[in-house]
């Protein structure tokens, strides 16, 4: 409750979380709020490529389906990708970063070198390579993204842990006789939490962009999945006449990524007292 109240003090965070909440609501309620919920899989071939109208708010696509409805259902896919991919990346990356940072030595060196290898190539390139070899499908996109994104969290947590390990309060806890487990889980992890949360929020945005790019390149979910990147890619054949075809999914991606970025930005300001703005105007 208090967290939410603090969140609301930051304009960026408020706006960002507003967008994300809206997205989640849309994703959950898609079957009820979509004017043509069936259009994800059924087609109206005689109604193809119609411009926006009262019936089809964002127009229709190459199969005559309602783009608005498909965008709403697309939100589910976007959320699924972002949540699972980033979730897995966090679950892999955070423990690795903690262990490597706390114990250092050969194990730490090895883990961090491994993450360096993954960071040596721009993420989308690696994701392309993985998604390409595994074949285009939603699962593979998620897998590719998780495999390429975990080092970010490992790196971050590693650096934080290294810094925290030299902090007096950690040394003090060790001096008091606390076990390694206790130190890592009760002292270090909670103190890296804000960095992880910020990174995760911004990482969601980046992941959504990468996933959309993969969809655009034809490496994402197969048709007729209403994935936003794929919709933009489909639309290219019909531009510029069907201008509405690319517009809606493009703006949808923009809004969601912006939501996560703003939230991350806001969280950074809120969670990091150093950058906390003082004074009025």
């Amino acid at each position: 409750m208090k967290a939410i109240r603090i969140l609301l003090t930051d304009r960026a965070a408020t706006f960002g979380s507003g967008i994300i909440l809206f997205l989640v609501a849309v994703a959950i309620l898609a079957p009820w709020i979509a004017p043509h919920p069936g259009d994800v899989n059924t087609f109206h071939l005689m109604n193809r490529l119609q411009p926006p109208s009262a019936e089809n708010l964002f127009g229709t696509d190459r199969m005559g389906s309602d783009i608005f409805s498909r965008i709403l259902f697309g939100a589910r896919i976007t959320i699924t990708i972002a949540v699972i991919a980033v979730g897995v990346a966090v679950i892999i990356g955070v423990p690795i970063g903690l262990l490597a940072g706390y114990y250092g030595g050969f194990l730490g060196g090895f883990l961090m070198r491994t993450s360096d290898v993954f960071l040596a190539v721009p993420q989308i390139v690696l994701a392309i390579a993985i998604a390409q070899t595994l074949g285009p499908s939603l699962e593979n996109v998620i897998l590719a993204l998780s495999l390429t994104y975990w080092p970010f969290w490992a790196r971050l947590v590693y650096a934080e842990t290294r810094a925290l390990k030299n902090q007096t309060f950690v040394e003090a806890a060790i001096a008091l006789g606390a076990s390694d487990f206790r130190v890592i889980v009760l002292h270090i992890l909670p103190n890296t939490a804000s960095a992880i949360i910020v990174r995760t929020s911004i990482g969601m945005g980046a992941t959504i962009l990468t996933a959309a790019a993969l969809g655009f390149l034809g490496l994402g979910a197969p048709p007729p999945t209403p994935e936003w990147g794929r919709m933009i890619s489909e639309s290219r054949e019909y531009l510029p006449e069907a201008w509405w075809y690319a517009t809606a999914p493009g703006i949808a991606i923009f809004l969601v990524v912006m939501g996560f970025n703003l939230l991350g930005d806001g969280l950074r300001d809120i969670l990091d007292p150093k950058t906390r703005r003082r004074g009025g105007k």
Partner: protein, 334 residues
């Protein structure tokens, strides 16, 4: 020389990282059991034909031997041949590298020219409307999917208004290939029409690529400047009556740039990656288009080569950044 030692130690990391990269990418590329012989032979292949090809490619070897052979060949600059086009992959990549480099270098220059000064302005005007506006722009810049933005730019400026060329690096084939950088080649050959055309063609793609990069730089410069501007030495310099412009653009910026430079290295990687989709939209005959084509053809070996080249360029750039770092941050050398 401490600096030399630092550079050398960075360089030493280069090799295992590269080897690890090779291993990872090679493994990735070999997970899926597509039969390269079939891909080469095409849809009308006969069994006899396949047998000949398999023998040619040495596909019967176990995978670690294949990896060994691959690394050995790579060391002599041989990335093998594309499964699909049968061309030397290294040849193809090198031929396209200048196109991508030209694009990314111009973009990063643009991004720096926009991002850094506006970042400084945003910081010294922190929390004013100038800062808020710049923040909105930079947050938006980071949220736009570049392929979408590219398409929309193309639609508007090329199709609707007809002001900009649609695609490609240049009208026609351009000046004779010397360095592969059209801007340079056309200057060398004194072909001013080509220079104009090449510059004209660069505008939209670089704009697309530079937008998120400039936004990132803006944010980092802003954060860096803000941190520095509240530091004791800036307080000291101001109290000693140093002119404001001197303090901001020399003293503050020099410090703020240290973190920004690291960021430029990383951004270069993102630009390279961004080039994959942006080139696809603008039909830019660079590495990105090559990668997309290789993807569509499932040309695993070409993708392998592409990933490694990008990896090497990326690691190399970051090495360079580290070296630059030792020059602009004297504390590194202590």
């Amino acid at each position: 020389m401490r600096r030399l030692e630092i550079i050398l130690s960075r360089f030493v990391w280069f090799i295992p990282t590269l080897f690890g990269l090779l291993l990872v990418v090679f493994l990735i590329a070999n997970v899926v059991p597509t039969d390269p012989a079939r891909i080469i032979a095409g849809e009308n292949a006969t069994e006899a034909q396949l047998a000949i090809l398999r023998a040619q490619l040495g596909l019967d070897e176990p995978i670690y031997v294949q990896f060994f052979i691959y690394v050995r060949d790579l060391l002599s600059g041989d990335m093998g041949r594309s499964l699909y086009t049968q061309r030397e992959i290294s040849d193809d990549l090198l031929r396209r590298l200048p196109a991508t480099m030209e694009l990314t270098l111009v973009s990063i220059t643009l991004a720096i020219l926009i991002g850094v000064p506006f970042g400084v302005i945003s910081a010294i005007r922190a929390n004013t409307w100038v800062d808020q506006t710049l923040r909105v722009i930079s947050v938006s810049g980071l949220a736009v999917a570049s392929f979408w933005f590219a398409i929309e730019l193309q639609l508007f400026f090329s199709t609707r208004l007809g002001w900009m060329p649609l695609n490609g690096r240049i009208a026609g084939f351009g000046p004779e290939r010397i360095t592969g950088f059209l801007l340079i080649d056309s200057v060398i050959t004194g072909d001013w029409a080509s220079l104009r055309s090449a510059m004209w063609h660069l505008i939209l793609p670089t704009l697309t690529l530079a937008l998120p990069a400039a936004a990132t730089l803006l944010r980092f410069t802003r954060a860096g400047v803000l941190e520095v501007i509240n530091s004791n030495y800036v307080l000291y310099e101001t109290a000693m009556g140093f002119p404001r412009a001197l303090v901001v653009w020399k003293y503050v910026l020099r410090n703020a740039l240290i973190s920004t430079v690291t960021q430029i290295g990383l951004i270069f990687g993102t630009l390279f990656a961004g080039a994959v989709v942006v080139e696809a939209v603008f039909d830019w005959p660079g590495l990105g288009t090559y990668a997309v084509q290789s993807i569509l053809q499932s040309d695993t070996k070409a993708i392998l080569g592409f990933s490694i080249l990008v990896g090497v360029v990326f690691i190399g750039i970051n090495l360079l950044v580290d070296i630059v770092h030792t020059f602009i941050d004297p504390r590194m050398v202590k």
